[in-house]
Symmetry: C2
Subunit: 114 residues, 2 copies
DNA sequence: TTGACAGTTGAACAATTGTTCAACTATAAT
DNA sequence: ATTATAGTTGAACAATTGTTCAACTGTCAA
């Protein structure tokens, strides 16, 4: 829908609008956060923090089915948060970006403070 | 459901499980990220970055209805990301925690790099 | 070359989450 | 007091998102 209320402070609204991040960037940032907003994906990232794991072992650590893991790994892969290598019958997943753990740590600290 | 695949490396799984963050903390961290995972909420936080705004003006900046704004402000308030003061007929909202913008900035940088 | 196992995929389903709508409260102005 | 305006609320609805299920691919071992 559209706005259903009149502007109170015209100038302030104009200025604030001018300072806003573009819609496309807002969407890419919120999509990024959405990835961390799911506990299964967070657990997967957490599990891969110290060592690479094959899908089967990852399932056992995180306590999910192969299918659920595979779907979530696809999302993480598409967003360049994990990468993988094939090893015989197994597929070994690992973090693609250590940077990511820092983001999680920042959130944990923030929550710890409140 | 439960895991549907056998363990490959028993010891690795055991060790990794031991290192995992507790489930309750995983949930609170993912809930935290969920808040930033919505573009409307992100826009609201972004709009309040430089100046406090009354609900009506916020609606005009972010382009949403009063009701939608109010619901989202409730969520942000419950999570201590915004606070408000009453001023006559208006309710003025402002950020409760500058820390939050840092988290968004970190995400933007991360996305900019890839 | 057949059987077993590891992982993937798409569609159906279930659950969660955001928006809309209509009714409501509270404040200010006449 | 009455009316108009600002904002809130809960329930219904719509949309999005995660999980399950069953069928599939590819690799290894017998």
């Amino acid at each position: 829908m559209v706005v259903d209320t009149p502007i109170v402070n015209e100038e302030k609204v104009k200025e604030t609008k001018a300072r806003m991040i573009s819609d496309t960037e807002i969407y890419s940032v919120s999509d990024f956060f959405k990835i961390f907003g799911d506990s299964t994906r967070l657990k997967i990232l957490c599990a891969l923090e110290n060592n690479p794991l094959c899908v089967g072992d990852l399932c056992n650590v995180v306590d999910i089915t192969k299918s659920a893991a595979s779907h979530q790994l696809n999302i993480l892969k598409a967003n360049k948060l994990v990468k993988f290598k094939k090893q015989g019958k197994n597929v070994i997943y690992m973090l693609d970006d250590e940077h990511v753990l820092m983001i999680i740590e920042t959130a944990r600290k923030h929550l710890g403070e409140k």
